[in-house]
Structures are given as C-alpha cells and as structure tokens.
C-alpha cells in the first residue's frame, strides 16, 4: 500500500514542521517580552530627554545649530533602513523594504541621490540586489539586545557626514510597534532635526503638569547646552527606532509562527482523514476478497 505509506510519512513530516514552528513561536514570545521590557525601560529616558530638550529649545536661538537648519538645496538623501537579520516573520521585512523603496523612488524621481545605512541582513541584501549605495551596515543588532552605544556610534557617523555636507537629509525607515497586531512601517526624518514641534509638545505637557514654566539657569549657556543635546537627540530617536523594530520583529514572527502552527494542524487533520479513509478502503477490500473466496469455496 504505497499511498498509505506516503500519507503516513507526510503526516510525520508535517508534525515535525509543527514542532519547529511551535518552538519558534515560543522563542519569539520570550524574546518579545525582553524587547518590550527594553522598550518600556527606555521610555522614561526618552520622555525626560524630550522634556529637558523642550525646556531648553525655547531659550536658545533657532539657528544655533546646523543640525536644525533645512538645507536650501537638497541633493543627497540618506536613508537608514531597519530590517531584521532573519526571515520567517511574515511580511515584516517585505513591508519595510516596500516602504523604503517607495520613499526612495519618490526621492530619486525628484533627481536626488540616495544612499543607505542598513541595520539587518534582509535590508542589506535588498540594497545589494538593487545595486544601491550602502554606506554602512550593521548586522546582528536588530532582534537582539541593543546597547545605546550602537545607536550612538552609528548616529554620530551620519551626523558627521551631514555636517560635512555629504547628506542634506537623513531619514530612518523602521517598524513602529503599535500593538501586537499592527507594526506598520514608518518613515521619520532624523536630520535636519524637526525640533520645533517636539519642543512645543514637550513644553505643553510640562506646562499642563505643573502649571508654570520655570526659568532655568543654564550652565554653560543655553546655546552650548542645546548644541550638546541635539546629537544625543538623534541617538535617542535612532535607539527608539531600533527598539521598536526589534519588538515588531518578534511580534511579527510570533504571529507568523502561530499561523504556521495552525496551518500545520489543519493539514494534519485533513491528512489523517485521508489516511484513515485509505486504511478503511484497504480493510474493506481485503474483507471482500475473503468473503468472495469463502463464497467461491462453498459454491
């Protein structure tokens, strides 16, 4: 009974796949918890930072730092693309890459040069395939435990390049972790820093909370302080993007693996049904043979 054996080995195969997808689901779930904790413990810092930055931005002049000033002529755009290193996470990387591609095409059709910094193997491979300019790449960052220094080092690199005039605008493409079910790709401008809104928001919340706006004494001068804080603000934004992308990756993988496990269950069910049917048919056939033989003998 070849078909019977075939079906059986298929069932075993699917069961094994199911074991793997289930294990991956659980691994993703536990990593997701870690990533979410990291994200949550970063929030206080980010909030306080925005608050302090908001306090000081109001006092310093608008044109105190070149990081704040929009370039009159934009020629070179730099995109920091955040993807995962590993696959098997549903449409996660595809979504990010599509977002980056759409954004890039918009810029290219406007006659701008686009270059990339890649976090994650998937985005890097895409850039290679499309023969795009890769300035920098970081593997094994997204998805693991991310140190703030990684964000700081890489951010400093493109800040330096921005100051030298190699780039006129810098954007980051990352996956925002909205909820377990939704991690939409998102394009955010890093440089020049769109600080006016951020400061306004932060100031408003401070004012609401306390009902007054304290006059700070600043040491050194507000301008100098702001100059020291602005690059850090870029690190903070990038670090935040990295954390969100990592969390999204695990959430996305968890869902993908959950779906795969369910699909395995469905397949096992229908295969078992087919197997039982075939077995039943074989037994019936044998029985018919015996009965037929007995009839013939008696007759």
């Amino acid at each position: 009974m070849a078909s019977l054996k075939e079906v059986k080995s298929k069932i075993t195969g699917v069961k094994k796949t199911k074991q793997i997808t289930k294990a991956m689901n659980m691994v993703a779930a536990s990593k997701l918890r870690g990533a979410q904790t990291a994200m949550e413990s970063f929030h206080p810092y980010a909030e306080k930072f925005a608050e302090v930055l908001g306090n000081i931005a109001g006092k310093a002049g608008d044109d105190v730092s070149p990081l704040l000033i929009d370039r009159e002529e934009v020629k070179n755009v730099h995109i920091v693309l955040l993807t995962s290193d590993r696959g098997l996470c549903g449409g996660f990387n595809t979504n990010l890459i599509e977002a980056a591609e759409a954004f890039m095409e918009e810029k290219v059709s406007a006659g701008l040069n686009v270059s990339f910094t890649n976090f994650g193997k998937k985005g890097r491979n895409w850039c290679r395939k499309e023969k795009l300019t890769i300035v920098d790449e970081y593997l094994n960052v997204v998805g693991g435990k991310i140190g703030f220094n990684v964000a700081a080092t890489s951010a400093q690199k493109f800040i330096d390049a921005f100051l030298k005039g190699e780039y006129d605008e810098v954007y980051v493409v990352f996956s925002r972790f909205v909820s377990m079910a939704s991690q939409p790709p998102f394009v955010q401008q890093l440089l020049p820093i769109p600080v006016i809104e951020a400061a306004g928001e932060a100031q408003e919340t401070v004012e609401e909370e306390k009902g007054y706006m304290p006059e700070h004494i600043c040491e050194p001068s507000p301008d100098e302080l702001l100059n020291a804080m602005l690059p850090r603000n870029v690190y903070v934004q990038l670090f935040n993007a990295l954390l969100e992308t990592t969390t999204s990756e695990h959430a996305s993988r968890m869902r993908a693996m959950d779906n795969a496990t369910k699909a395995c269950d469905d397949m096992i069910e229908s295969l078992t049904l087919a197997y039982n049917k075939a077995r039943q048919a074989a037994i019936t056939m044998e029985l018919m043979d015996i009965v037929g033989g007995a009839e013939a003998l008696r007759g």
């Binding site: 990291a38 810092y45 302090v52 306090n55 703030f148 700070h216 004494i217 600043c218 040491e219």
Partner: protein
C-alpha cells in the same frame, strides 16, 4: 532638616536611582554643584564622574555617571546619563579591562586612532576604578 528632594537618575536601559534625597552633589562641566530642595531651576551638562547623595535616612550613596545632563527643579533633580551605575554595581574587572584597553589604544599611536574616544573611555574606566578602590579602602 529641610525637605527632601526627589533624585532620579535615568539611563536608556533603566532607572538607576529614583528616591528622595537630602542633598545631591553632581559633577557639572563647569564644576561640581550641590542641590538641596527648593533649588532654582537649573540645567547643566555633566562630566564623567560620580554623583553623591544622601538618602532620606542620611546614608550616603555614590553613583557613577558617564556624562549627560542634569536638570534641577525645586522638588526634583533629574540626571540623564548614557550609562550610570551605583557604586556597588560597578564591575571592577570590566573597568580594569577597559582601562588597559584604552591605555593600549592611546599608546599604539595608530593613524586611525580616535583620540577623543579613547581618552573618554580611559576616563570612564578611571573614575569607575577610583570609586571601587576608594570605597573598599574606606571599609577596611
């Protein structure tokens, strides 16, 4: 004793300290400063160094900070540091290794040497080592 002031030391990874303190001393870039409750709003950048505070019961604590910013308000002090550790959490071996590494880098005189970075790494390691050694000699 005057009222206590809420001290918060935050890094990107976690809250290092969040408790009321009687007095907080921190290493500003223009010199060390002390904050008591009722301080005028004050904002400064910090050097690599140690923050020193007395908790509500008057016990002294030391916390390492690798630079950053401090904001003092009448009722609280917020310190934003890229890394910060309580004295008892400092990893001596790691700091020692970092110290040796930074020394080596500074001595190597390579062309691509990032002098400022090596030097700040050296300083961070040095402050950490000093803090550990200072506290262990005090307790013996």
């Amino acid at each position: 004793m005057a009222e206590n002031i809420q001290l918060e030391i935050v890094t990107p990874e976690k809250y290092v300290v969040s408790e009321p303190a009687q007095i907080v001393m921190a290493p500003g870039t223009l010199g060390e400063f002390g904050v008591l409750s009722g301080h005028t709003p004050f904002l400064t950048s910090l050097q690599v160094g140690k923050v020193h505070y007395k908790d509500a019961s008057g016990k002294e604590h030391f916390v390492f900070v690798s630079g950053g910013f401090a904001e003092a308000l009448p009722d609280r002090v917020t310190i934003l540091a890229e890394s910060a550790e309580r004295e008892e959490d400092i990893d001596y071996q790691r700091a020692k290794a970092a110290y040796d590494r930074a020394q080596e880098r500074l001595a190597s005189q390579k062309d691509d040497l990032d002098f400022a970075r090596a030097q700040s790494a050296l300083q961070r390691a040095l402050v950490r080592l000093n803090m550990v050694q200072g506290s262990s000699s005090a307790s013996h």
